[in-house]
Symmetry: C5
Subunit: 104 residues, 5 copies
């Protein structure tokens, strides 16, 4: 999976019927130092992620594993909201503190 | 999924029979700031997208999820026409306005 | 799918038996302006494409969709020979004319 | 597969239920000379890999092959801890020696 | 498929049981001009390829198509040893001659 930050939403009215009811988030990828990358992904959302939250995104056929999504043409899905990222004994991200020790 | 703009069409007469009846669009990828990228994709079309429209494209096995496409050797498919892209509270693309606030 | 030009062939005698009888083409990818890219792919061929022809190549599990190829370890397949590529109202490639208007 | 070094862990409390019980490792990719690359992956762990160990990571649907993981939306999995990497007759990595001859 | 040269081997004792008995080769990718690229892949081997041989590698689910490999978490597999690569009428690689005409 990749780490990404929720930046916004994408709305599509004219779509294939199997996409109905899927909330589409615009995600910006984050590198392992916590810096924003230029790359993005539009993904479905399994967990109700909100703007600015850091999430885990699975790509490829993993996006269609969950019950109810197997027949939808998705290739990316938010599967979890990140609480903490810890490198060795140093925490570089904590949702609770909105604090990244690596970037002080 | 990625965001792309419909730039044109590709026609192939001599093709594997399972590709018969699939309209092939030439898509140019768009970055999260609304700028055109050099990368492109030739994709099938589930939604009747027209020239210059912004669309969502799914890649990989997602392109063969829809009924009628499971036996066709496609690896990219247009699954929706984009109405709006909103970052936090700022709309960066609206099909209705043909307006990208981020590029004024 | 990506656009590629047939540049040559690859021959392998010592191979897994399931690859027997698959003609392997060396393809060079072409960008959306019709220029050759440094990237290449070795792909199976469903359509009898010849040297210098422009083709559509599908990658991933799409390469094993066709009857007779489902048990072969292929990850790329030529699925059609391109006749024309048209951007908006401008034709940038026509097999018939061997002419790329965009590069005059 | 790619070679990667275990750098840390990622914790997610709010996640899709099928991700429950999967330990998530933050991996940094290593190039064929043994140098760290900027790219990373968050992967599940089948083998109990520890911080700083070099591991093999499989991506895509390979991450869901093992019994117990087929219904989880994972796209990357640690499948082995590396003991040695040998180029021709030169050993460039040995877990036992924590020694990389190529970087002396 | 991609063209790669066998550079060495990777040994893993602590691995998921389904990986037992799979020989793992370290492959270096080769570009269409026959030059070594920085990218590598660790792949299973279906054909008994030896050091320095040029091989074809399939990636993704193609690595698990062969009987006996469907339940192993592999994402790359050597499927053939290359005898010759021919561009139009010019041979750029021949295993027999260990000769690359393009690089004289």
């Amino acid at each position: 999976m990749q780490i990404a930050q929720v930046r916004g939403t994408v709305v599509s009215t004219c779509k294939t019927p199997s996409m109905t009811g899927v909330k589409l988030l615009l995600l910006q990828f984050i590198d392992a130092e916590g810096q924003a990358l230029p790359d993005y992904e539009v993904a479905g959302d399994l967990v109700g992620a909100g703007i600015n939250e850091w999430v885990l995104v699975s790509r490829g056929s993993a996006a269609r594993i969950e019950s109810g999504y197997q027949e939808r043409p998705l290739d990316a899905m938010v599967v979890g909201i990140i609480d903490t990222i810890t490198l060795a004994n140093r925490q570089i991200y904590s949702k609770k503190d909105e604090y990244r020790a690596g970037n002080q």
